[in-house]
C-alpha cells in the first residue's frame, strides 16, 4: 500500500508524459506533481515535487488504500496507472495528446493540452479529484472562475488555463475537488489546456477525448516502429528512445537535458540544478543514439539546431542554451519552495551558462561527423560553421576549463576536454579527406591535433599510477577516461587502457556495474551515463562481450518500473537521484545497446567511420 499524502514519492516513482514541447511528471499515486507550460523552461503550475504544500498538484486517486501497477501503453508515451482498491479496480490514463501535422491542419486543437481519463474496470471504486494549481513555481495562487459548461478558467499573466471535466467539480478559492463512486464501466475525463497567443480552443470530452488518446497511442507506436534496432534489448532501447523524443523541442529541434529542476544529486543537500536547457556536451552521444536507431530526421533537426541556433555566440560556444538558442537565464533561487525532501535551494536558470568547457567543440563536431555518414555532404554555411569551430579549437585547446562536470571550483586542464579538442580536429581532418568539409587549414589542424595527442600521452598519463588521469599532471581518476577509446584516441584493449580501467574500477566502482563519475567526498550517486560508458568500454575490447552484456543487463535493473533513468543511482538502495528522466542517461543506454550489437555483428564503431561511403561513391561517380 502506498502512503497517500505528506511524504515525497521517490524520484523513480514518477513517470513522464509530454508532447515534444513540454512535459509533466505523474506519480504512481495518480498525481501530476510537475508541469511547466508552454515550454520546458517556463514557470511551473504544478511543482509539488519541489514542495509538498506550496508547489501545486493535480491528483486523481482512490479515496481509500490501494495498490498500484503502471505501464506505458505498448511503445507509446501514454501512461496508464492501475489502482487496485478494496472493492474494485480503476485505470488512470495520462497523456499530452499528439498527432501528425496533417491531422492538425484539419482539426482545431488546443495549443497545449493534458488529458486524464479514469475508467473503472472492475467492481466499484471511490475516486478523489483534487486540482490545486499554483503559478510561478508555487508563488502565485490561481483564481478559478467557473464558466458553466465551458469549464473552469484560470488567468495567469498573459495566458489562460482551462479545465474541463466530465463531472461537476466543487470550486473553492484555489482548488477544484470532487469525490465520486465509479462503477464498472464508468469513465471520468478531464482536459487541461493552456493558451497564450490566441483564444483558447476548448476540446470536447467524451468520444473526442477517447479519439485523442487512440490517435496519440498510434502516433507514438508508429514513431517507435521506425527504430531499426533489432538487438536483444528492444524494450529498454525503445523506452529510452521514447523518453529522448519526449525531451525534444519540436519547433526548434533542440533536446532538453531533463524536464525538471533541482531534483537533488544528494538528498537533503544543495547539489540541485536546473536541467531544462540544452547541453552541447550531450550532442555527440545524442546524434549517435538517434542515427544509430534510424531516426535521421530527429538527428538532422538536432544538428541543425546545434549549428545554427548557436550562431550568436559562435565561434565560441556556450555550455547550454535555451530551446531557441538563447543563452540560459541567470541562476536564481526560489527560496519559498522547500525543495525535494528538503534539498535546498531550488534553482531556476543555470550558472554554468558562463563557464568555459572546451569539450563541447569536439562534441558538436563529432555529432556532425556522425551525421555526415548519412548524407551526401554539408551546405557551405554549415561547412563554414564547422571550420570556424575548428579554428577556434586549434587556437584555444590548451586553455584550462571547467570541464564536462561543471564543478564550480574554477578552471583546470581536463584530460577529457583535451580529448574532445583532439576529436574536433581529427574529425574535421577526416571529413576533409572525404570531401565533406573542404577548405580547412589542414596543416595547422594536423599540427595542433598532434600536439594535443602528445600532451595527453605525456602529461595525462601518470607513470606512477600507470593510468591516465582526470587532469594533466594529477593523480585523480575520472570516468570520462573511458571515452579515450570511444573517440578513437586509444584502443580499448591497449595496455594503457587496461590499467586505466582497473584504476577507474578501484577508485570509482560503486558495486555491481555502477560507477561514480569522479572522486568526491562525500560521494553523490553513481552516474548513469558513466555506467553505460563502462559497458561500451568493455564491449570495445576493455573486457569480453559477455561481460559487457552482463553489466548492461545489471544496469537495466536500476531503471524504474517504467524503464526510466534519472541522472544518478544511489548505490545502496538503487534509488534514482537528480533530475528525471535524464536524456544523458538514456542516450548512454542506447549507445551502449548499439555498441553491443555492433560488436556482435563485427561492425566498425562510429568513431572510426567518418563520412558516408554512399556520399563518397556518389562524389567519385560525379568526378
Amino acid at each position: 500500500m502506498l502512503p497517500l499524502t505528506g511524504q515525497f514519492p521517490k524520484i523513480q516513482d514518477y513517470g513522464v508524459i509530454g508532447d515534444c514541447r513540454s512535459a509533466a511528471l505523474v506519480s504512481n499515486r495518480g498525481a501530476i506533481d510537475w508541469l511547466c507550460w508552454p515550454r520546458f523552461d517556463s514557470p511551473s503550475i504544478f511543482a509539488r515535487i519541489l514542495d509538498r504544500d506550496r508547489g501545486g498538484y493535480w491528483s486523481i486517486r482512490p479515496s481509500g488504500s490501494f495498490t498500484v501497477k503502471r505501464w506505458y501503453v505498448q511503445d507509446s508515451n501514454v501512461l496508464e496507472t492501475e489502482f487496485l482498491c478494496k472493492a474494485g479496480r480503476a485505470t488512470l490514463t495520462d497523456l499530452m495528446p499528439v498527432s501528425s501535422e496533417e491531422f492538425k491542419c484539419t482539426t482545431l486543437l488546443p495549443d497545449h493540452e493534458l488529458v486524464r481519463e479514469v475508467r473503472c474496470s472492475e467492481g466499484e471504486c471511490e475516486v478523489e479529484i483534487d486540482f490545486y494549481p499554483r503559478a510561478q513555481y508555487g508563488l502565485k495562487s490561481m483564481r478559478m472562475q467557473s464558466l458553466g459548461n465551458f469549464g473552469v478558467r484560470m488567468d495567469v499573466n498573459r495566458g489562460a488555463y482551462w479545465l474541463r471535466s466530465s463531472i461537476p467539480l466543487h470550486l473553492g478559492e484555489e482548488r477544484a475537488t470532487a469525490r465520486v463512486v465509479l462503477k464498472q464501466g464508468d469513465v471520468l475525463q478531464y482536459s487541461l489546456t493552456y493558451a497564450e497567443e490566441s483564444p483558447a480552443v476548448l476540446p470536447a470530452l467524451g468520444e473526442n477525448t477517447r479519439a485523442a488518446i487512440e490517435r496519440s497511442v498510434k502516433w507514438w507506436q508508429n514513431w517507435a516502429a521506425m527504430s531499426c534496432y533489432r538487438g536483444p534489448y528492444r524494450d529498454a532501447v525503445t523506452r529510452s528512445a521514447l523518453a529522448l523524443k519526449l525531451l525534444a523541442y519540436a519547433p526548434s529541434g533542440a533536446i532538453a537535458a531533463a524536464p525538471t529542476t533541482s531534483l537533488p544529486e544528494r538528498i537533503g543537500d544543495s547539489l540541485n540544478w536546473d536541467y531544462r536547457y540544452c547541453w552541447l556536451r550531450d550532442s555527440s552521444l545524442t546524434v549517435r543514439a538517434l542515427v544509430g536507431l534510424g531516426y535521421v530526421a530527429e538527428a538532422e533537426a538536432f544538428l541543425t539546431w546545434l549549428l545554427h541556433a548557436t550562431r550568436l555566440t559562435q565561434p565560441e560556444l556556450c555550455v547550454l542554451y535555451t530551446v531557441f538558442g538563447e543563452i540560459a537565464s541567470h541562476e536564481c533561487q526560489v527560496n519559498r519552495l522547500s525543495g525535494y525532501m528538503d534539498s535546498r535551494p531550488v534553482r531556476i536558470g543555470n550558472a554554468a551558462r558562463k563557464q568555459v568547457q572546451m569539450d563541447i567543440y569536439g562534441e558538436v563536431i563529432d555529432a556532425a561527423a556522425q551525421y555526415a555518414q548519412h548524407v551526401e555532404g554539408f551546405d557551405r554555411t554549415t561547412q563554414k560553421v564547422l571550420i570556424g569551430l575548428g579554428k577556434y579549437v586549434a587556437g584555444h585547446w590548451d586553455r584550462p576549463d571547467e570541464g564536462i562536470w561543471e564543478p564550480r571550483s574554477g578552471p583546470q586542464n581536463h584530460t577529457h576536454s583535451r580529448l574532445l579538442c583532439w576529436t574536433a580536429l581529427d574529425r574535421l581532418l577526416a571529413m576533409n579527406e572525404k570531401g565533406i568539409v573542404p577548405g580547412i587549414p589542414r596543416e595547422s589542424f594536423t599540427r595542433e591535433r598532434d600536439r594535443i595527442r602528445e600532451q595527453i600521452e605525456t602529461r595525462a598519463w601518470n607513470e606512477q599510477l600507470h593510468s591516465y588521469v582526470a587532469t594533466l599532471d594529477s593523480n585523480d581518476m575520472d570516468a570520462t577516461l573511458l571515452r579515450l577509446p570511444w573517440y578513437g584516441f586509444e584502443q580499448a584493449q591497449s595496455e594503457r587502457m587496461h590499467s586505466t580501467y582497473r584504476k577507474i574500477r578501484e577508485a570509482l566502482g560503486a558495486g555491481d556495474s555502477l560507477l561514480y563519475r569522479y572522486e568526491r567526498d562525500p560521494q553523490e550517486g553513481a552516474f548513469g551515463v558513466c555506467c553505460f560508458w563502462q559497458v561500451e568500454h568493455v564491449a570495445l575490447g576493455g573486457g569480453s562481450l559477455d561481460e559487457a552484456h552482463h553489466m548492461f543487463e545489471q544496469l537495466l535493473t536500476y531503471g524504474n518500473d517504467l524503464g526510466l533513468f534519472a541522472e544518478e543511482i544511489e548505490p545502496g538502495s538503487g534509488d534514482a537521484l537528480g533530475n528525471f528522466p535524464q536524456a544523458f542517461s538514456h542516450v548512454g543506454l542506447i549507445s551502449a545497446a548499439l555498441t553491443l550489437e555492433e560488436q556482435k555483428r563485427g561492425k566498425a564503431h562510429p568513431a572510426v567511420k567518418v563520412g558516408s561511403d554512399v556520399a563518397a561513391s556518389k562524389r567519385e561517380a560525379r568526378v
Binding site: P38, S100, A250, P251, L312, G325, D379, T382
Partner: protein
C-alpha cells in the same frame, strides 16, 4: 510622382537595408536573416535560398519604397526624419504582424505548435522575433529606420 527618383533611391535604400541586416547578423545581434527566410519558401538548399531570398527581398523592398513615396507625397514633403518615422512603423509592422503570420505562410517554418513530428524546419520567430536573439527587435528597427531615412533624404518630389 518622380518615378526615376523612386526607382533609383528605392533600389539603393533596399540594398542598404539588406546590408545593415547582414551587418547586424555578422555582429551577433540577431539570427534573423530575412533573405534566407524568404528564400527557403522556394528551396530548402541553404545556399540557393540566400540567393533567391535576396532577389525577392530586393523586389519587396523596392515595392515597399513605393508606399513610402506615396506617404511623402501625401505629406507634401520628403525628409530623412519623415522617412525614419515611417521606417519605425514599417519595422514594427514586420516584427509584430509579419513574423506572426510567417509560420502560417511559410512551408518550411515550424509554428510554436509544431511537433512531435521531426522535420528540418526553420524555427518560428516568436513575438517580436525574439527567438532569433534578444536584440532582434533593435536590429530590425535599425535597418528599417536607415531604409526610410535614406529614401526620405534623397527622394526628389518633383
Amino acid at each position: 510622382m518622380n518615378w526615376g527618383s523612386w526607382l533609383l533611391w528605392g533600389f539603393l535604400a533596399t540594398l542598404l537595408l539588406t546590408t545593415v541586416s547582414s551587418m547586424t547578423q555578422g555582429m551577433g545581434l540577431t539570427r534573423m536573416n530575412i533573405p534566407y527566410m524568404l528564400g527557403t519558401i522556394f528551396t530548402p538548399d541553404r545556399d540557393r535560398a540566400k540567393l533567391y531570398g535576396f532577389i525577392v527581398h530586393v523586389a519587396i523592398g523596392w515595392l515597399f519604397s513605393l508606399i513610402y513615396v506615396f506617404i511623402f507625397h501625401s505629406m507634401g514633403a520628403a525628409s530623412w526624419w519623415r522617412g525614419a518615422i515611417i521606417g519605425v512603423l514599417h519595422g514594427l509592422f514586420v516584427l509584430t504582424v509579419v513574423t506572426a503570420l510567417l509560420p502560417g505562410l511559410h512551408p518550411r517554418m515550424a509554428s510554436e505548435q509544431h511537433g512531435p513530428t521531426a522535420q528540418n524546419m526553420l524555427e518560428p520567430p516568436g513575438f517580436l522575433a525574439l527567438h532569433y536573439g534578444i536584440r532582434t527587435p533593435l536590429a530590425a528597427l535599425l535597418s528599417h529606420v536607415v531604409f526610410g531615412a535614406l529614401l526620405g533624404a534623397f527622394y526628389h518630389m518633383k
